[in-house]
Point group: C2
Chain length 275, copies 2
């Protein structure tokens, strides 16, 4: 079981920041990634629809014999984690609980900010989980869908992006937070700008990075780590959208021009490789 | 099962830094702590002896119906973790694997330093586990038993302590590390001095803090978190050594004068409360 891949699923390309952490923290582990780019964003969709789309990605990966599944998307984690855990016989890791744990590890004053998509903020998933673990925390949440657009449009480094981020995060000026959870997997791609705006006294929590630490712990507990280093050509990336566009963004974020990206067709019997 | 305590064991008082992280990150969880102060340090003892002493502490806590066990001591983790995991039907968390994961999450240049007791350095536990997960890491280890003495003698803030720490850590001057694992549970009590000596470009990894994040993950996975806040008077601290001396140090480190500390007698049938 040790040499099998770990599967990653996301509504699109944001989960690549989680895969990036996997490549960094767990370089011996093979990455299979599916991004449902054609049907993104998941945020505004009904939960039942998100659940159904998520299962399509999962079914594709399970047939490829993955040893563990990472839901590299906050919306899909909120909608599908319990169902996937109940029905799959491999470990399933989401990104919300790790973000919560990372925030509780980082905070000293127990005042925690969360930035996420509108859907994730509305679900109260972070606020509920934080308060479940510590009744004394004060959580301030802010929906920042604009940040997703900045990333998707490949404008992370623009002056306009900095202005938008600075304007939005002014919301936290009077909240006295010492910790800010990046509650959307797109946001680590803006972490330098966010860090500059928030100042050095606010710790940023990358939920995906903590999730990969969680994956690492699970590999330890089950004793299924791949002990030897691997060739990155074993990794496989799939998208329901345009493979070339996915390749452009993912290559940039992973700093690797040789990614193997393939298109998946959406059929009535699930996601299928096109031949 | 949710309201039961989590048990912590250590060769003495260093594990209090792990309990401190538990109080901070998991304030809803009851702490039962046993420190085998009378027989510390464990570092120079044969593995079989460390294993036997560790089991005495575990047997005492298991009778008190704990829901999870944390081995808050690097030496005991190296000696006893596999045996405890195999024989107990509650989850068991050590401090070495979390330290390894925390280091791999923190490092960018893959050059990692580890400071620990002589026993832990000699066991190569950190180096082996780091290299198992990432064949590209370069690990520099240094035994710092003097640091344990500084803490035990309550001299953490002295100028002499700073001089000793500065002298010892000069070892890393030409190692180009960007991450330093505090591989002994005493060392977080010296973290400010160590941080100042190492400089802002070296991230310190508190193994105990990551271990508590691991405990938090396990509570999530098994759905056994205590959902309500608790009165800290439920916590219980035990020592095989002098209860008053233990109380003095632990109270200071936990910033709580009302700790309930009791002495345990070492008998031929295990550790027993004295009446």
């Amino acid at each position: 079981m040790t040499t099998q891949a770990i599967g990653y699923i996301d509504s699109g390309i944001g989960g690549i920041t989680v895969a990036r952490e996997a490549l960094r923290q767990l370089p011996h582990e093979v990455v299979y990634y599916v991004g449902d780019t054609a049907r993104m964003p998941y945020g505004p969709r009904p939960t039942e629809e998100v659940l159904a789309y998520t299962w399509e990605m999962v079914d594709f990966l399970v047939k490829k014999d993955i040893k563990m599944l990472v839901i590299a998307c906050n919306t899909a984690t909120a909608a599908a984690l319990p169902d996937l855990r109940a029905k799959l016989d491999i470990p399933v890791i989401g990104v919300i609980a790790p973000g919560v744990r990372g925030a509780l590890r980082a905070t000293k004053n127990k005042r925690i900010g969360v930035i996420a998509t509108a859907g994730t903020v509305k679900s109260q998933a972070y606020a509920k989980a934080l308060e479940h673990k510590d009744g004394a925390v004060v959580v301030s949440q802010l929906a920042c869908p604009e940040f997703v657009q900045i990333v998707e449009n490949n404008q992370s480094d623009s002056a306009a992006a900095t202005a938008v981020i600075s304007d939005k995060l002014a919301y936290f000026a009077d909240k006295d937070i010492d910790t800010l959870v990046l509650g959307c997997t797109h946001f680590p791609l803006l972490d330098q700008t966010i860090a500059k705006v928030m100042g050095e006294n606010v710790a940023l929590v990358n939920s995906g990075a903590v999730a990969i630490e969680n994956v690492s712990a699970m590999l330890d507990e089950l004793n299924i780590s791949n002990p030897a280093s691997i060739d990155r050509s074993k990794d496989e990336y799939y998208t329901t959208g345009d493979a070339a566009a996915f390749h452009t963004l993912a290559s940039r974020w992973l700093n690797d021009d040789n990614l193997n990206v393939q298109h998946l067709a959406m059929t009535t019997t699930g996601l299928k490789l096109e031949n």
